[in-house]
């Protein structure tokens, strides 16, 4: 009975030690893009910092947001590891063990204060957000952040990769779009077939809309 807790604590401490080492190994390469390890984030890594935090003034949109994908999306092993990190790195303390919110926002619904595509969720974890979300750079290496994102994606509330602008506009897969509104949309063409498939999956897996999108809640 006592062996399990001890090993769990040991594992958590070992993991923490590893993370600190990994964080320390990262060499700054200018800006905040440096910690995206090429192996994990593939060729998109350097572009993460260029993903805008909000919408883009004066132009149709950011092309980066359509090409950056989570290398671990849908990977069951990565999702399980992401879940493990979600609990051991105290994410669950704020967002809830069911990720349905508490001190921090619900991560299973479609309400995303800072956009719900995987790269935006990555940025929220990496850089932090102003209402109490800490920046996990450099405590967590990019691979771990992407696994956390994979876990959050698996909960069904995120927007599919490539649907950055749709998420900004508040579009949801399957919604009607008025003809007049459609003419301003650049999303369908650029999002492509792949994104449409993701959208269908997301619709199936999503939790019902929440009536209460507030961050505050449980003790």
């Amino acid at each position: 009975m006592t062996a399990q807790p001890r090993s769990a604590v040991a594992a958590a401490l070992a993991l923490l030690g590893m993370l600190v080492l990994l964080g320390a190994c990262q060499r700054p390469q200018g800006g905040v893009t440096s910690n995206v390890a090429p192996a994990a984030a593939s060729t998109d890594g350097d572009k993460v910092a260029a993903v805008p935090l909000g919408d883009v003034a004066g132009v149709a949109g950011s092309t980066y947001t359509e090409t950056i994908r989570n290398p671990f999306t849908g990977d069951p092993q990565a999702i399980a590891q992401g879940r493990q990190m979600f609990v051991s790195m105290n994410c669950a303390g704020c967002h809830g063990y069911d990720a349905k919110g508490g001190m921090g926002p619900n991560l299973t619904d479609r309400y995303w204060r800072y956009n719900g595509v995987p790269v935006s969720v990555y940025k929220s974890i990496y850089e932090g957000r102003p209402q109490g979300m800490p920046a996990w750079n450099p405590s967590l290496p990019p691979q771990v952040i992407w696994k956390l994102v994979a876990y959050i994606e698996s909960l069904g509330g995120t927007a599919p990769a490539g649907a950055y602008e749709a998420s900004l506009r508040g579009d949801r897969p399957g919604d009607n779009v008025a003809p007049e509104a459609q003419s301003t949309s650049t999303q369908p063409a650029s999002a492509g077939k792949d994104s449409a498939t993701d959208a269908t999956d997301a619709t199936a897996a999503a939790s019902p809309p929440q009536a209460r999108p507030d961050a505050g809640g449980k003790p």
């Binding site: 102003p130 109490g132 800490p134």
Partner: protein
Amino acid sequence: MSAEQEPVLAFDPRIEIDAARSRTAFGAFGRIRLCCLLIATCVHGTTSWAGAASTGTQPAAPPAHALPTADFAPGDPAGEWRSQARDYANTRYSPLRAIDTGNVARLRTAWSFSDGTQNGHEAAPLVLGDTMYLVTPYPNLAYALDLSKPGAPIKWSYAPAPTPVAIGKACCDTVNRGGAYANGKIIYNLLDAHTVAVDAATGHEVWRTRMGDATRGETMTMAPFVVGNKVYVGNSGGEMGAWGWLAALDVDTGKELWRAYSTGTDRQVRIGTDFKPYYSWMQGKDLGETSWPAGMSKTGSGAVWAWISYDPELNLIYYGTSNPGPRVPTQRPGYNLWTSAVFARDATTGMAKWAYQFTPHDQWDYDGVNENILLDIIFDGKPRKVLVHFDRNAFAYTIDRTNGEVLLAAPFAYQNWSSGIDLESGMPEVVPEMQPKPGVKLPNVCPPDIGGKDWQPSAFSPRTGLVYAGIFNICMDLTDHPQSYIPGTPYDGMEMKRYPAPGGNWGEFMAWDPVAGKKVWSHKERFMTMSGALATAGDLVFYGTADGWFRALDARTGAVLWSQKLGSGVIGQPMTYIGPDKRQYVAVYSGVGGAAMVSSSMPGFPPRGSTLYVFSLEGDSPHGGEGELETRGGAPAARSDHGMGGKP
């Protein structure tokens, strides 16, 4: 207007004393005031208060002993409400009785005020003269309302703009438990761990003191407590590993005079040679350090986030400390002193006089922060100065407040973690099966983390000798997950599912006999009863429910005499005052949030709100009725959207 005009009974304290001299039917309050004001060496509790029963209404179960009494110092004017608990003893008792058991059914809304903020409203308004003062949840606005003009226009508003970082560091909603008036200032705490003083006349900030670091999980939600030229404040952050403390600031400058930590060395805890805990297991050097694994005491919490009481005769303040951190007990073997405990400290120096740990090595998040009501009772034939405390652990304690001896400890709510408190040792007997093990789901632990009662303060009436409290009937399934300490993130580890205990009701409102240690009556509520209680000389007790019913009960029988459904749930604290028009009003905030959100998936659970409701007989007031009424003068509302959606 009502056909039957109710004569208005405004209580001028000067009249009161005369009335107490001449009218035996006046009841206990007048006699106590007379006693306190005119007889300096008065010994409380030695008189049998026949006056309390002389109103003609017989209690359902009259206490067999002499009725408890209280010192109502500082003796604020009867029609005012200058601090959250109204008096040092934390009775939340008002001597007003124009609204009583006979007419309360005619209570109606007189006017209301929305402060525009949406999170849990846990405060009571203050009233001084013809001004009402409000303090809101984050972004912690303050309002002064002019009660003398139609519509109670805003005299001034104050927007301190606390950092939004604090929003995500507050464990249990971005609540605030209100302000205190002192020396021309309204003093209150900001969520981002600052204390501010605002000029009560102008709304201008007089001073602002940073007390902690919000980025490291330290927030402040409690109401300051003032005695003389000192204001006492403490921190929140028991779920974030914030090192708990109580500090005294100078009322006029905001300068910190001393700070007493809840854990650490004797020096840090302000323990000296004067410290004499009653029980041997709490005696020894540096126990706040040595009852922890090495290096863990300073992330061990013991936050001070609720109420403080004061005994002027002993010059002692009393307050409780929060759960230990992390909440996973297997990570911190030891008693974890001085968490989940009560401290008695010298009000001047802050040096500890005694302490008592309610829940040693707390394994269930049973904070000891709930209010301590200071009463004078006859116990076993002897007068005793006691404090009465309903702990989160579901036991009600009557403790000798001069030395920390537990006279009585009896469960007041459904619980299964302990078979009782051993009065010889002061130790709870823990049921072994109720101790959680990491990673193993432990079903049906009662009460859950939020306790048999949370911070919502109880009230005492000297007319009945009873204490009135909103309590819970809740259990949890608990799974512990060991945690690492990462500053600014939860140091928590309790995964919980909460549900009602046997009976199916989440809440209950009860009258408690603090001498016999028994419930006298209780009223079950489907929803959580998480509002403060108010007792009045009209033999009424007021409270609200999480689904928004505000009720008045007969203090003696528990009969529900009046209810009204408000816009949101009630977790605020009701209070009563006399307006400039000499009418008695009852006021309460409606704005659900805080820990009441654990029941937010219940059918019928209300949306959030931001409205203060004010009631009078027939709803009469200068703020409604015939004639050309309009708002004149005052100031515009504060922008309430700092960090709440008004700007990025």
